[in-house]
Symmetry: C2
């Protein structure tokens, strides 16, 4: 007998909203159940996402993604990674730098230099720490202050009321998916969250905040301890497997020890510069479909799940992303 | 300039105990600060672990680990994965089955059949679902009831008092590392937690609980929603990179689509059957060193970390494991 971890089918149960919302009053988030709820008998989170009406999907503009082509794999296969840049009000200074670096073709020819298991894949200029050999950066890059790791609450488009107690999130008063992204809220404002696949800006010691010339993607347990300490600028929406399955580096912090181990980056382009790029879209976090999907992530009970969790961590409610009209990978796990 | 995500050094700050302990009163857990605290000026979590006295380390008996040798990699390199089995009171029915399967050499010749990104690597009999071709299981395997996913609190060796409010854990009233393992506590008892590297038992639909013939390891965001729904039987203590860096399967749920993609398992042996196996040990979760390490994971502030998290998720406090007398990988990230 080969058992299967996750071939779950089962009955739809009407359950209370997932617990991490309990600390919040959100003006814009609908919690009304899906119209199909009563009829549905065997919905998984993935089923709910697949059944979401077209109106619940929001387009991702090609001009807001960067397309990173790694050198082909050992078998000659293409390795393309697509990253959606973070919208306002978050991290816009670094995002502007990244746009300039792409325009200058600065990323072309750099490499993946670090793969630390259960932490990050990082790419940059392998010679960046040697002033004599470092690749010159283009002019016009901004120096972004540390204060921009957090957005003052008044800048945030949603009115969020914080209770005096902490929520069930260990790192913030509340954490939830809003405006399409995982966001934490605290007394000092709002900030994006280091979930799997999120992309951030490597930097040196404080007060350096990084330019955006070196980037990393999370490939393990969400390293929430670096929230508010490093800028997040986006998330991988396609091709994460080309990063997460790379051989781990054997040097300190997972750096590759020899140049031969590095993975060359052939080019990085804005999505609107790439012909034939699929049209990506994400499930609106303000839609009824998303609320039902998040609820199912927290309270699944069916022929496989015998005991609903009764709650869910923000990083276990990834915002579904798909090629327009296609299916979503991984949500149904 | 090549920025670095994690080259953190900094001053030691005396801070309150990490927040996820706040909901608990633990008879056995010392929270007294390290003797070296006042003198230390630049300790990272890894530094604290490295400075832990020998008495704070507990041996892992070779008879409590299984050693899984995969077929060599493309470059001919050995790929050995070492898994520590879970002690009483958890999951002992499944652990007993695994010992029988190892004794019968049943695992020899099976394969890694599934690698789903940000979820699990799974191994078992590729023909297990075909009754005509499935590899016969040895006699004497127990059928373990679903009730054994959770241990009644009275069986748990520590007296744990639960407050009426939930802790900052989204999945349980409390979650913390005790008796060497990540454990959740709720009204129905205690249960082990699906953190990165934890090993569990694949199964079919309820009420099947799996025999232990098919196993998986977590390689992504901790899938806490399957806590109390699937048996956990251990954790990878060495060689996780040989699983986590495997190519992702392209079939549904990350199953490999062709036999050629599968990774053969040459042999699985108990640690005491393997000559030359290193002596592994873990940092006692009841030691002062562990308390200081966990506190630093929650409240790091130094030349790199400008803003302490003020809390920490249970899966971001991995129990340090090392080869006796050697260093610990990854804790210092």
């Amino acid at each position: 007998m080969v058992a299967r971890v996750s071939q779950a089918v089962g009955a739809w149960h009407k359950r209370r909203m997932y617990k991490f919302l309990s600390g919040l009053a959100l003006a814009a988030l609908s919690v009304s159940p899906l119209a199909a709820e009563e009829a549905a008998k065997a919905l998984t989170p993935g089923d709910i996402v697949d059944a979401a009406p077209a109106a619940d999907w929001a387009p991702i503009a090609p001009s807001d993604v960067i397309v990173m082509d790694l050198a082909p794999g050992a078998g000659g296969q293409a390795r393309r990674v697509v990253i959606q840049l973070m919208p306002a009000p978050f991290s816009q200074g670094w995002v502007a730098n990244i746009r300039k670096l792409v325009a200058a073709r600065w990323y072309d020819g750099i490499a993946v230099v670090r793969v630390q298991d259960n932490y990050v894949v990082q790419w940059g200029d392998p010679d960046g720490e040697d002033p004599r050999k470092a690749k010159p950066l283009p002019g016009g890059l901004g120096i972004v202050p540390e204060s921009d790791y957090v957005v003052p609450a008044r800048q945030f488009p949603f009115r969020v009321q914080l209770k005096s107690n902490r929520s069930t999130d260990a790192y913030a008063k509340a954490a939830l998916a809003v405006t399409g992204w995982p966001v934490a809220f605290g007394e000092d404002g709002a900030w994006p969250i280091h979930c799997y696949g999120m992309v951030g800006v490597g930097r040196n010691l404080s007060p350096d905040t990084g330019s955006g010339a070196e980037l990393y993607a999370v490939i393990g347990t969400p390293p929430r301890q670096i929230d508010r300490n490093i800028a997040l600028v986006g998330r991988v929406i396609a091709g994460i497997e080309h990063l997460s399955s790379l051989p781990r580096g054997t040097g300190p912090l997972g750096f590759y020890e020899t140049p031969a181990e590095r993975v060359p980056i052939l080019s990085v382009r804005m999505g609107n510069e790439v012909s034939g790029l699929p049209a990506y879209e994400y499930l609106s976090t303000e839609s009824a479909s998303f609320a039902a999907y998040a609820d199912k992530r927290a309270n699944r009970k069916d022929d496989f799940y015998i005991r609903p969790a009764g709650g869910v961590d923000i990083c276990n409610v990834p915002v579904p992303v798909r090629v327009a009209g296609g299916g979503v990978k991984r949500v149904g796990m």
